[in-house]
Symmetry: C2
Subunit: 315 residues, 2 copies
């Protein structure tokens, strides 16, 4: 039996049921898991989506868990060594590179080309052509530093080169990154006009951007975070944005999501808060279902699954 | 003597004076030309910027006019055949391709990735992650039709290909355009998800997008205009946006600028009005001065000038 807790509508449920037959599919509540949902999860041999982390150690029948995200940090504390003999986990790494890179570019270009200001001016019917023009920047010639060089970082580079950006990348593991050591990252940071962070949440990445490293960033630079909120000290980020030391930010992720109503980030100038929508698209659930059912075919045929999570690296 | 009416600050004026020596430079008012400005213009042999069109027939000493824009439609009605023996005009075609293409991409990506909505939500501190995600589109796979394939259209193609767009271009003259006949444009239009118009204002282009041709555009497509407002019937554009037949628009240009306070475009949904800022950047005036003084060197050496206006084609 397959357990899923994604936000499918009735048509999508029916479609997934057909694709998964002869396996049956149980659909749990995406937001508020019920007692019945938990029982179904414990009876399932396959899960597609997520679950409260504490359910996993009890799910003795579960053989394969297909997460519907790239980040799996909320499950990282579990004792995966014990479970890994009989439970394989897969995630969606690479899946979101296209939409997330587009949102990162959209937010960055909005700041550089004043779209955020122009959108605010529209309901006020206020023409500010000359004042605005003199303040706009062009990406052409900008120094971009990608922090994290997985499929998303690589796509960012491909999109940015034709704009005339000079792009370098830091990544401890990924091929093609110019910088692999933190000391190199710190040498590159002061030259960057744009810093684009696309890192998973792991013990290595948590608070990577705390006081010292945030202090290396150039006056007026734009900070993009499309990885996980935990990578940056949010209090210091708020301070750098409010004081104008940072020129702006595009934040798809924050430490707390939904971002609390009283959070000071809502008030920061030149800050585009994309509310963890960057991975989204109107065909997102259909594409996720396709990825899952492709992996389901491999699972049934006893073939290696795509995107197996390496719990030592944390993604 | 050189006449200029650009919006220079004192430092920029001093800098231009030095670059132009031994010629003297007279700086007229950019917005409200005075009687003294007119007299200076009539005494100048070189002008850099623009002027009230009716001054030109009287400016007997003028030998070279460097416009500070690409579009010169407001001067097109003058009797250039008579003047062209002793007056050469140059414009800034190509000069704005980089910033304008970035604003076009910024506006388009904002609509596709919901940045316009997210910017509106920020002061209201409203989290709408799931509702928004399901409505976002990706440029990847979008069919883009460039209408006008000068340096700007060509740059747009170079920026869009890495996003995974399928791009074709219409242009009566430019090399590299797939479509050169209006009949071909009309065949291509119904397939386009994005139409990006970058045409000058000429008798050929005026109302190119009127009732019949606007009717060929696909339901939900996005219309970008970074050329001149005269190319489209604005009443019909408002209707198509208000009814939702068009999915959105990015409008850098309108028929009347500044766009009047009572104009219905301010109320159109999914419409990014960039207020003729697309050509702008913080270094814009310095770059214009460089272009002018490079041409000034050619003028003094008796060499052919860059960007001579062809009044038969209108740009």
């Amino acid at each position: 039996m397959i357990f899923s807790n994604l936000e499918f509508d009735d048509g999508q449920k029916e479609h997934l049921r057909r694709l998964c037959a002869p396996d049956t599919v149980y659909f749990g509540d995406p937001e508020h898991p019920s007692v019945a949902d938990r029982e179904a999860f414990l009876a399932a041999d396959i899960a597609f989506g997520g679950c409260p982390p504490e359910w996993i150690p009890e799910a003795k029948k579960l053989r394969w868990m297909q997460f519907a995200s790239v980040g799996v940090g909320e499950y990282a504390h579990l004792d995966w060594k014990r479970r890994s003999e009989n439970l394989v986990c897969t995630n969606l790494r690479g899946f979101f590179a296209v939409p997330v890179a587009e949102t990162a570019m959209a937010g960055l270009l909005s700041l550089y080309r004043g779209i955020d200001r122009l959108v605010e001016l529209k309901p006020r019917r206020t023409w500010m052509k000359l004042e605005l023009r003199m303040r706009l920047k062009t990406l052409s010639g900008a120094n971009v530093l990608l922090v994290g060089y997985g499929s998303l970082g690589q796509r960012m580079r491909n999109l940015m080169i034709p704009f005339g950006c000079k792009v370098t990348a830091y990544d401890k593991f990924a091929e093609g990154a110019e910088w692999t050591e933190l000391a190199e990252l710190d040498t590159a940071l002061p030259d960057a006009d744009v810093i684009c962070v696309a890192l998973p949440d792991t013990p290595d990445t948590r608070r990577l951007f705390a006081k010292e490293r945030l202090g290396l960033i150039k006056q007026g630079a734009v900070f993009i975070n499309v990885g996980r909120g935990s990578v940056v000290d949010e209090d210091l980020l708020v301070e750098a944005l409010s004081s104008g030391r940072l020129g702006g930010a595009v934040l798809d992720v924050t430490e707390k999501e939904p971002l609390p109503v009283e959070h000071p980030l809502w008030d920061c100038p030149n800050t585009v808060i994309t509310q963890h929508t960057a991975g989204g698209s109107s065909d997102e659930l259909d594409r996720k279902s396709s990825f899952f059912t492709d992996n389901l075919r491999r699972h049934r045929a006893g073939l290696p699954l795509e995107n197996v999570v390496d719990w030592e690296r944390g993604f």
